[in-house]
Amino acid sequence: MLDDFFARAVLAGIGTALAAGPLGAFVVWRRMAYFGDATAHASILGVALALGFSLPVFWGTLAVALAMALAVAALAGQGHAMDTTLGVLAHSALAFGLVAVSFLPGVRVDLSAYLFGDILAVSKAELATIWAGAAAVLGLLVWRWSGLLTATLSEDLAQAAGLNPARERLVLTLALALTVAVAIKTVGALLIAAMLIVPAVAARAFARTPEEMAVAAVILGALSAAGGLAASLALDTPAGPSIVAAAALLFAASLGIGAARRRRA
């Protein structure tokens, strides 16, 4: 089955959804959408550096995404206006990444593969990396789940219960960087934030508890991956954007379902 490029692509999409679903729920709850964007955009700089130093792209992306996420978290801790800071950092990091790629000597880099993903060209090794990364993200989130939820509701509440809110923030930052490194191959740097947010928001209509929302986000993310890839095959459209478009359609459908539920309630 893994010899078929389409099966590998679907599995890569599902792997991404596994990490992006629950993390995306936290991104929505904690209003971190722009934070995700900044981290994802910075990953292009990671791609350039990794190619420049002949390192694996996964590790370059992970390192730069982590540095960006930590920098943003530190700035937020000092009380800078978050939306402005992130607006500056997100797009500067993307611009520097694009400039850095142009300096790469003698390499013809297909940038669009990193901006929009290259899921149809996922190798077996890359598939293994994606699933290992997704497993690491899931492991982190499950391990700290209760503390993360408590700190999301109120950092004071977490502190009073003997938890350390700063540590919970760090766990999310780490999970975000890992997810970016995983998803850059599947949907690309420009659309990673969409894979985090859109399935999670769509999942809200079906959920009564945080856990249900996280699980539903994984399912909707996986459906988006499968549906988007099928559409991409049938209509000959780019795969990454098709996946996000499928997620957006699911979100639109969830709006209708949510409204119907509210009418019945």
Partner: protein, 253 residues
């Protein structure tokens, strides 16, 4: 030993000191209310005692392993996060269905388990927060402006509930009161803050203190209204429906 003690505590935001040279100790089983005008450092003191704000000077000591039941002023909770009351009461530690049911019944809102937190009324929400705090079997309950948003009968019955809980469990209670005019008569001590401790003592002592009157006297003619428990009619269960009759209010100076 004291549950929580502050010694010569100073807290700053940036260069500005909001709280200077505060010394106080909370003993087991006592009810202490912090009052003070806006910006007087009530919430700051609470957070410094909890450990969420660092001390710029002096020190805070908490009894090792102290179990704190905290009722925050607000939660970052909106409809983005689905959260049933049952799930909320299991944060951060898992609780049995029986324990959750008992806690909700104790705080006067039985049977709310399946409701969404965002669908609760103000009074129900406060009681759900209190139920969650009680599940930690606290040695001290810390409440940050718990009656904000409640009407006067709602506030009175919430205070009565706090007193009952203290009497049953023996936990200490430390709370910030946003409402300068309404302080629990059951408070063992009222501490009046204005960047430092202005005065402290029993509710009636503080109400009569010249420092208190200097701070709050102008608008209210120094009246410190104390809710007492004589008028015990129909709303013992924290219902927050509007009453269409005027509420008798007793004022004691």
């Amino acid at each position: 030993m004291s549950l929580i003690a502050a010694e010569d505590l100073t807290v700053c935001y940036g260069d500005a000191s909001v709280l200077a040279h505060v010394t106080l100790a909370i003993e087991p089983g006592e009810i202490v209310t912090l009052v003070g005008p806006n910006g007087s450092g009530k919430s700051t003191l609470l957070h410094a005692l909890l450990g969420t704000l660092p001390a710029a000077g002096g020190r805070v000591a908490r009894k090792p392993g102290l179990r704190i039941g905290f009722v925050p002023q607000r939660l970052a909770l909106d409809t983005r996060m689905p959260l049933t009351v049952r799930r909320f009461l299991s944060l951060p530690a898992r609780q049995t269905a029986a324990a959750i049911g008992a806690a909700l019944a104790r705080t006067g809102v039985p049977g709310l388990e399946g409701r969404q937190m965002t669908a609760l009324s103000g009074g129900q929400f406060q009681r759900a927060l209190l139920a969650r705090a009680l599940l930690a079997r606290p040695e001290i309950l810390i409440l940050d402006e718990p009656t904000q948003g409640l009407d006067q009968p709602g506030a009175a019955s919430f205070y009565r509930l706090i007193e009952e809980v203290r009497n049953e469990t023996g936990c200490a209670v430390l709370m910030v009161s946003h409402d300068l005019h309404v302080v629990m008569s059951a408070s063992d001590r009222v501490i009046c803050l204005n960047g430092h401790i202005c005065c402290e003592g029993t509710p009636t002592t503080v109400g009569a203190a010249p420092e208190y009157r200097a701070l709050f006297g102008l608008g209210t003619h120094g009246a410190l209204a104390l809710y007492r428990h004589e008028h015990d009619h129909a709303h013992a269960h924290g219902d927050d429906h509007r009453h269409d009759h005027p509420e008798p209010q007793e004022e004691t100076v």
